[in-house]
């Protein structure tokens, strides 16, 4: 169809299921206002664990968006991903019916924790009652590929389907994977991540992360870049995006919300935060290079903001290393301090926030963070109006990945 024109990856739809808002508009309102929703964990069977605070998705009823036959065979993490997909397709004007060209739409998700609650229930049946009590859906609900498979089946999407089972940075890697899929010829991909790590056994599994915050006061538990940084707070939820060939989107009259301009990923070792400085700087340079973007063109940075002192220092220095003097002047933000880190979902939520920030001309603030001890222009307390054309989204994972993604505002002329 469009073989003469270069294929570029546009973001045309955003679907969000986050602790601070269901749907992109509610999410943006909370992010812009700097709403903090970290709270005591209320999920059943968790109240005795030494992890008390998280970002929970509340008032979410998957049945509002997803048919019962899908819900019974899937875990909460897939419920989030399927619901976010419905919202993203709706946002992109693609509906949710069977597409006319099924091979032209693919699905890519990142997953860092799988269907833990479903898995724990089936483990309980197996060990408490016997192997005959394990249900037929355990084989398809617990594993990391569940969400991609179900989204593909529900939507009738036969294009390239993939799953990056990753640490946090995998959320950005998945977006880049989808953008490359567009460049290779697929019309559109549903891409993103959603996680549901707040089941009792899943929480026990996370207790060993040395970076985990166990502070019990919600507004003090996750304060990156401050002298009081004491680790990160986990969250559930995530986002799905429609990443689409720009020409395909324009041909069907869809709004191009943003362009996926550049990405790069590196590895510097699990929990080796000092080394992540070099790795993250290298990833930033690689993403700028792929985007054909000068450091000065970056108008806002969505930081990884792990909340561990040496990791925060490494990130601040990496931004300075890669962006030079601009690194201390560019506005930096970390909206995730208001809702926690939803593992692979976190950087996808940040990417959604970056697109929304560019559209609204506002850099959202970093909730609960007031006095920082690094040479960064971190936006705090309230949103800052700004003309935003290009955003840099950063993510690092607990197992050692570093990733950077450059997104450009959709209405801007082609570069």
């Amino acid at each position: 169809m469009s073989t003469q024109r270069p294929r570029r990856a546009a973001i045309t739809g955003i679907g969000v299921i986050a602790p601070n808002g269901l749907r992109a508009d509610a999410y943006w309102k909370s992010v812009k206002e700097g709403l903090g929703v970290l709270d005591r964990i209320t999920r059943e069977g968790c109240d005795h664990l030494p992890l008390r605070v998280a970002g929970e998705v509340r008032a979410f009823d998957a049945a509002d968006l997803i048919e019962e036959r899908f819900l019974v065979q899937t875990d909460r993490f897939s419920h989030f991903a399927m619901a976010a997909t419905v919202l993203a397709l709706d946002d992109a004007g693609l509906g949710s019916g069977d597409p006319a060209e099924p091979y032209d739409i693919g699905v890519v998700t990142a997953a860092g924790s799988g269907g833990g609650e479903f898995g724990q229930r089936e483990l309980q049946k197996l060990w408490g009652q016997g192997s005959r009590f394990v249900g037929p859906y355990q084989s398809i609900a617990w594993f990391y590929a569940a969400s991609t498979g179900q989204i593909s089946i529900r939507g009738g999407f036969k294009g390239p389907c993939g799953v990056v089972a990753s640490d946090e940075a995998g959320g950005l890697d998945a977006i880049a994977h989808a953008a490359r899929g567009v460049r290779r010829g697929t019309g559109a991909l549903l891409v993103g991540a959603a996680e549901a790590p707040l089941a009792p056994y899943s929480m026990v599994c996370q207790l060993g992360y040395p970076e985990l915050s166990t502070v019990e006061e919600p507004d003090r538990a996750y304060r990156p870049f401050t002298a009081g940084a004491c680790g990160f707070v986990p969250a559930e939820g995530g986002a799905m995006l429609v990443v689409e060939d720009e020409n395909r989107a324009r041909d069907r009259g869809a709004a191009v919300r943003a362009m996926v301009a550049g990405h790069s990923a590196t590895f510097t070792g699990a929990s080796r935060w000092e080394r992540s400085r070099e790795g993250l700087a290298h990833a930033i340079r690689g993403a700028l290079d792929e985007a054909g973007c000068a450091p000065e063109e970056i108008d806002v940075v969505f930081a990884d903001a792990l909340g561990v002192p040496e990791a925060d220092r490494a990130e601040a220095l990496a931004i300075a290393d890669a962006l030079g003097a601009h690194g201390t002047r560019v506005p930096v933000t970390a909206p995730k301090t208001g809702m926690g880190r939803a593992y692979c979902g976190a950087p996808v939520l940040d990417t959604a926030a970056a697109v929304l920030a560019m559209e609204h001309g506002q850099v959202p603030p970093t909730p609960n963070v007031f006095d920082i001890c690094h040479d960064l222009d971190l936006v705090m307390s309230r949103a800052r109006p700004a003309e935003l054309h290009t955003a840099l989204v950063l993510s690092r994972g607990l197992m050692g990945s570093n990733a950077a993604l450059v997104v450009r505002r959709g209405g801007d002329s082609a570069r």
């Binding site: 898995g119 724990q120 309980q124 049946k125 060990w127 991609t148 389907c161």
Partner: protein, 422 residues
């Protein structure tokens, strides 16, 4: 200019033997490594057989930390990667670490360890509000699927893109495919690629019992895995790992590396049909095959061997027979197609990479591995499945295909030194 992708090293931990030499010895002699489960007491299960690795973590010079604490599937991967890197002659000290990538697949990752510790913290399934004090403090390493690629990257000094791929039973093919794309697109010059799984545990066996996907041939485990045979009745669980060193072709030549073959195409599609079901038409797998042939600009008649998914379920064998006929046309009847799962079982995410290594070895030795246990033809499956005995054959272009829960349909095309047409 298109960057070509060479295979310069292979390593494997498979049932029946560790190392590429032992693995090929098993395959080329048509021996089976399926047996009664010894890794745990399988009493009460419907399928109590598996293809297990006789793997001694003390025998491979693993770091003490990995030897004593790492999950079995991580140990498999590190040992297979070590063999592959040695085989490639790659000197990691001479490589730019930012240009070395890792792409490893696993379908179920650390679930065996997760189940083991679950039993402790739940008091054998008695409590939902599990007791964290009984858990291993390093349990997060089993919980995080990315531990696999992370540990291997750390061992071999890779600092480029490092990822774990988890697309169910096509994880291994897809991990190799992602690695192929990573090098082709110029994001790395070297990629340690492959997959590992050690899923022989009560929960994984029980969940396949629940859908009757695994074979109940408990009385005759050696002959239980019978892909394409009319009397097949499900797959036999396996475990293992395989790793390849993939390398940009000129990069490999410049350092004088021995090149086994090239990865010349990769594609994957979703069937958007059913999480565990397959159609009898095989349209999506056929499309994956067609796409790989297009990438390599190869006529279907130039395919010399198809390494089948061949799990030994009726729906799979029928599905992929139809897919291969659709893509290769009449040439399908002249093309041997075999399933090594007859010998090494189905190691979920790992098997795709193990099968790619089998294809590399088939190209090297110019021998098609057989489908062991194949005796009774099935009228629905009428291709040449290479019954029981390996077959010498001129091999230039070889396809490996796979299907996975979730609807994934993937294909990888390998081309030997004299197989290229462009």
């Amino acid at each position: 200019m298109t960057r070509r992708v060479a295979v310069t090293g292979i390593g494997v931990v498979a049932p029946g033997g560790t190392g590429a030499t032992a693995f090929w010895d098993l395959l080329s002699n048509g021996r089976t490594a399926t047996r009664g489960i010894t890794l745990f007491d399988p009493a009460g299960l419907r399928s109590r057989i598996a293809a297990e690795c006789d793997f001694d973590p003390l025998a491979h010079g693993l770091d003490p930390e990995l030897r004593d604490h790492a999950d079995r599937y991580i140990q498999f991967a590190v040992v297979a990667a070590g063999e592959a890197v040695r085989d490639s002659g790659l000197d990691s000290g001479r490589e730019d670490p930012w240009r070395v990538a890792v792409s490893l697949g696993s379908a179920v990752g650390g679930t065996t360890r997760l189940e083991h510790d679950y039993v402790q913290v739940s008091e054998h399934g008695r409590r939902w509000d599990v007791d964290h004090r009984a858990a291993d403090p390093k349990l997060h390493l089993a919980f995080a699927p990315s531990t696999l690629a992370s540990v291997v990257a750390e061992q071999f000094g890779a600092q480029g893109p490092v990822q774990t791929v988890s697309t169910g039973c096509t994880s291994g093919l897809d991990a190799v495919g992602y690695a192929f794309q990573t090098i082709e697109e110029g994001r790395a010059d070297v990629c340690i690629a492959g997959a590992s799984d050690s899923p022989i545990s009560p929960i994984t066996m029980a969940c396949f019992d629940a859908i009757k996907a695994t074979s109940p041939n408990n009385d005759d485990p050696e002959h239980a895995s019978r892909p394409f045979d009319a009397n097949r009745n499900g797959f036999v669980m396996g475990e293992g790992a395989a790793v390849l060193v993939l390398e940009e072709y000129e990069h490999a030549r410049a350092r004088g590396a021995e090149i086994y073959c090239e990865i010349s195409g990769y594609a994957t599609y979703g069937n958007a049909y059913h999480m565990t079901g397959l159609t009898s038409e095989g349209l999506e797998m056929a499309r994956a095959i067609d796409t790989t042939l297009d990438q390599a600009r190869l006529d279907p008649t130039l395919i010399d061997y198809v390494n089948a998914h061949g799990s030994g379920t009726r729906q799979n064998d029928r599905h992929e027979t139809a897919a291969v006929k659709r893509s290769l046309g009449d040439h399908a009847y002249e093309t041997p197609m075999s399933s090594i799962k007859s010998m090494v079982g189905h190691s979920l995410g790992a098997i795709g990479a193990i099968e790619v290594v089998a294809c590399v070895l088939a190209l090297q030795h110019q021998v098609v591995p057989p489908t062991a246990n194949y005796e009774t033809p099935d009228p629905e499956c009428d291709l040449d499945y290479v019954p029981r005995t390996a077959r010498p054959r001129k091999l230039r272009n070889v396809l490996s295909v796979g299907s996975g829960f979730g609807g994934f349909q993937s294909a990888v095309l390998l081309t030997g030194p004299d197989g290229r047409t462009r």
